[in-house]
Symmetry: C2
């Protein structure tokens, strides 16, 4: 299998006005504020307590170490693009704390070290022990690859080796209730060249869902379970062990629908998608199809239910109560990229782009100071972003996503170069030993026009793959030398000898589009949503002056684009607004009133809830 590989982050420089602004906001505002929260909430102090030999007194949730590691990964990406002395100092400090807290044998988890040393490895089902280890490993790899800062690599490898010694081939397998270690081991194997890590990841992926389940044994360990009183309930269905919550319900090769905790499912599948096995890939395609054709919000948000932070049933996509966790959108993006890497099929890039520009990005405020954990598609004015959460997985996750967004724009496959998302960047590429600079200019996502400059050091043949976005109904291209493109799995392919000064101009015509939903999603019957390019739009009372639930629209009327707040493009729609009438005692005989004709402003979904309390709606009633 010839997989697509991301361009190494240091080799891809974003020049895109949209993403560079986000990366700057994350580097300048989000990461220093997140660091302050890590300190204030005892997450860093937990490491110091271990180093001091100060047992007890662990603060916070059992998985809080992972927030530190994820922050570090995000900081590594930020520092690559926007080096700052302040952030550099913070990174140093955190790396030092981590290194100091590690035990002789490589073990590192302050929750267990401080309060429960006797329970290590006995409650994998609930206590995120290897989930935390995974994020340590990812942080170490990110620091090394992005900044050349290798101080955490040794500790990460020692911890990985400890896990390998426990669960490596030949012995008893162990895997974590919350997937992540699999992704980390894959990444560590790639960086170190040591395939033992990858083999262990594969063992973990395949062991999950086998019977008897490791978790079933663990749930009988009364002492270990005192730390997670809800574990049995979460892992059961109708009083029987099911394992769905942690994707332990069936061996992965038998999966055909997405179940349980959404982030966990995404991380599992993102790891599994890296395994070259046709039966496994077939299972992943079934799950992908189930997710994207039956269980995904139009924003790319996934996992509608709060009770399991995850999946429910086909076509169950309530808007007001949508959970659609920010981390789940990140997870979908991770998985999508791996499916894209395995298949080079633009279907996956379409979903990656959708979740990236909508569901995931809605998780952070425009100023980088506040976050959404859940991302509903309707609000009645009582949703606001928070500075932090007791369970703070989302803020550093969206920060590392933004920091590494280049990964989703372009890839290489041997000599060939893939452009998935036409945001502006400059990338170093090597084709047949020849250095090539690929430069893309655009105003994406506000315009679908782009120019791609290919600058080889000397003439060299390779193929440039350019994704035709799924949303594009009309594509205009001016090809170098009038060459006709080939088309392959949703990509326009230009295979030729590239010379200096080659310019490919393309225009994915970006008109506002009214979209409807499959009628099996009962919540969206009689409703339409407005999109433009990769962006889903919503209406907010901040613009309208009244609740958007009172709007109804006629999708046949024209929609105008205009400059919106915060550098966005807003859309103005000719709509009907129901007057705000009040009925005595709630119910009355129908009294048809004509709505008021208004020009209703819609804004990108990711930008909602940035101007104080606001009612919001994505799916608008259609007349």
């Amino acid at each position: 299998m010839r997989r697509l590989r991301p361009v190494a982050l240091p080799d891809l420089r974003l020049t895109d006005g949209f993403w560079t602004r986000w990366q700057l906001v994350v580097a300048d505002r989000a990461l220093p504020l997140q660091f302050a929260q890590l300190e204030k909430t005892g997450r860093l102090e937990n490491f110091r307590r271990v180093t001091r030999g100060d047992p007890g007194g662990y603060e916070g949730y059992f998985f809080n170490d992972s927030d530190v590691y994820k922050w570090l990964e995000a900081a590594a990406y930020a520092q690559t693009r926007y080096p700052s002395v302040v952030l550099s100092g913070l990174i140093d400090e955190v790396v030092g704390l981590i290194v100091a807290a590690q035990e002789e044998d490589g073990y590192l988890n302050t929750y267990f070290q401080l309060g429960h040393p006797g329970l290590k490895w006995r409650n994998l089902v609930s206590l995120h022990e290897m989930y935390c280890a995974g994020h340590l490993i990812e942080a170490a790899v990110a620091l090394k690859e992005s900044l050349g800062e290798a101080r955490l690599m040794g500790p990460a490898i020692r911890f990985a080796d400890l896990i390998l010694s426990r669960y490596g081939s030949g012995g008893q397998i162990g895997y974590c209730g919350h997937e992540e270690i699999e992704l980390a081991l894959m990444r560590l194997a790639y960086t170190t060249g040591n395939d033992a890590y990858r083999d262990l990841a594969i063992r973990m992926v395949e062991a999950r869902g086998q019977r008897p389940s490791l978790f079933q044994f663990e749930l009988d360990d009364e002492e270990a379970m005192t730390l997670s009183p809800f574990a049995r309930g979460m892992m059961s269905r109708n009083g029987e062990y099911s394992g769905e919550y942690s994707q332990d319900h069936l061996p992965i090769r038998e999966h055909s629908e997405v179940l349980g905790h959404a982030v966990r499912a995404m991380y599992l599948y993102a790891a599994a998608a890296q395994i070259d096995d046709s039966a496994l890939q077939a299972a992943l395609k079934r799950c992908w199809e189930n997710l994207t054709s039956r269980r995904m919000y139009i924003t790319g948000g996934i996992g509608p239910s709060a009770s399991n932070e995850g999946f429910t049933a086909d076509f169950d996509l309530p808007n007001l109560t949508a959970y659609a966790e920010t981390c789940a959108a990140c997870g979908l993006i991770f998985w999508g990229l791996e499916m894209l890497a395995a298949t080079a099929d633009s279907e996956y890039a379409d979903v990656v782009e959708l979740a990236l520009y909508n569901a995931a990005l809605a998780g952070i405020s425009l100023d980088g100071e506040r976050y959404f954990y859940t991302n509903p598609l309707e609000s009645r004015g009582n949703d606001e972003r928070k500075e932090w959460f007791a369970c703070a997985c989302c803020p550093p996750n969206v920060a590392r996503l933004i920091g590494s967004v280049g990964r989703y724009l372009a890839s290489v496959r041997e000599d060939d170069f893939f452009i998935h998302i036409p945001a502006a960047f400059e990338a170093k590429h090597v084709a047949d030993g020849v250095d090539v600079l690929v430069r893309l200019e655009s105003d994406y996502p506000w315009s679908g026009a782009a120019k791609i400059f290919v600058e080889p050091a000397e003439p060299v043949e390779f193929a440039l793959y350019l994704r035709i976005p799924g949303w594009a109904t009309d594509v205009e291209t001016v090809l170098p030398g009038g060459q006709e493109a080939d088309f392959e799995k949703g990509y326009a392919v230009f295979r030729r000898v590239w010379e200096k000064g080659s310019v490919l101009a393309v225009n994915f015509v970006m008109e506002p589009r009214w979209v409807e939903c499959d009628q099996r999603v009962r919540d969206n019957l009689g409703r339409v949503a407005l999109t433009r390019g990769p962006l889903v739009y919503c209406a907010e009372s901040s613009d309208l002056g009244f609740a958007p639930q009172l709007l109804s629209v006629d999708p046949s009327l024209p929609v105008a684009a205009e400059a919106g707040f915060g550098g966005t493009t807003a859309l103005v729609v000719d709509a009907l607004a129901q007057p705000e009438t009040v009925i005595n005692h709630l119910y009355a005989d129908v009294d048809p009133v004509q709505g008021n004709r208004v020009g209703a402003t819609f804004i990108p979904y990711f930008a909602w809830a940035n101007r104080g309390e606001s009612d919001m709606q994505v799916w608008i009633r259609s007349v």
Copy 2:
């Protein structure tokens, strides 16, 4: 204050086809099956264990005794109307079990007697100790008043006296986390003539919500709280004691909105409405207004939220997830009757009628064998009635409601006779010492036409008050001797000397009506509901052959009434049905398709979910 009093149940004989069928179903099917459940689930065995002196081994929830008492009350009513040797034997058996289990000092609560004798009276906040006592008292009174069976009166009085000795005037006050004892003590005072019970009920009503709260002290009793680990959470808001869940947030005179657990709130207010105090009545009117103009479903269902089984915020009335507990509808009916009794204002009778014919009655299947605990206004096919519940408050509550429905049809106020609901009945009345038979003939709720025959033993003057239903837009009356009615608080008043053979004919013209909702209820925007007379209608896939969510209706088109299943009147509507199209990957450009014109059958809401799994909807999209 001249209060309305119900006609004593034995003096009011229902002849109404609608309610006699329900009463027969309850007597014949529901009560024997409920008895079998009481036995099967250990509810009766708990009493036997106490009598045997067999400590430990209590089965079920701590409030399970109350289900036995409520069954007994329902059985007393049923036996009055449809005497059966079988039911008589069961009543005897249950009365015997109860009598035998009582302690010397009058105490009776098998949960505490069997497992926690040391914790009596120490966890009033959570353990329903006096709630159970209240239902014992109500059962005793019902048995005596309906059947002349007085064996439980002594035990009930002894228990009441024990409570009186603990919490009567002068000493420390105690009240129960779940209101009910107040209603029972009021009823016991009325039956026995001993006002000490009423005074204690008033003390309890007034003590609730004072600070410091009794419950706050209790919550610090660690030993007692081990039995109710969630009590602190339920009684708190943002980490502080609030008491809202049990209406302990403010003294009742300061209440202005309905809060917390819906059944509890209704029972409190039903008791308080029996107290003749203008400031208290003003508070109750504020709460009533809040409830009926901002927090009540069109069915009369109340309490939208599962998490507190109760109230949330104004205009928060989701249809699909509506909790709308059957018992809460019963409670609203109880409260409404007391407000009506205090004011003689038909506004209260309107709501009583609404909740009775819709929200409450939906709680039991047409065959009397299955129940709904929650009563949503939309279903996507996964709601079905159950034979019983672990928490089984609703089945016996709806059974006792149906058995005592006569209470809601007519009342007396000294010599005057009130007809609230024109269902057919015969009632014995005494005016100025003269026996009067009042007989009403109708086919309510299927027709609004009624004839009222007034048969005095000799000519006698009194006023007949006839409610003009709030739903009636057109009233035709043929008055005896051409007399003009006076109108008073929504009642047509006929004051005259009645003679033998007086007949009053009335027709409340009963046309189908499309109703809309105040736009602040966002869930119902763009939607209409169909009603006819006191009944709210819904559409079910059982009739349509497809989900009613696909329907849209034009409220200006005519609606036809026709005979429906199970003796109901169905309504047939000229509607548009969206074709069941499937969209690849859920979302697609809007493609306007013409709906199919169909004749859509609507059925009374109370009759839904009686023909297998079905999608259902009350609020239909309007074109």
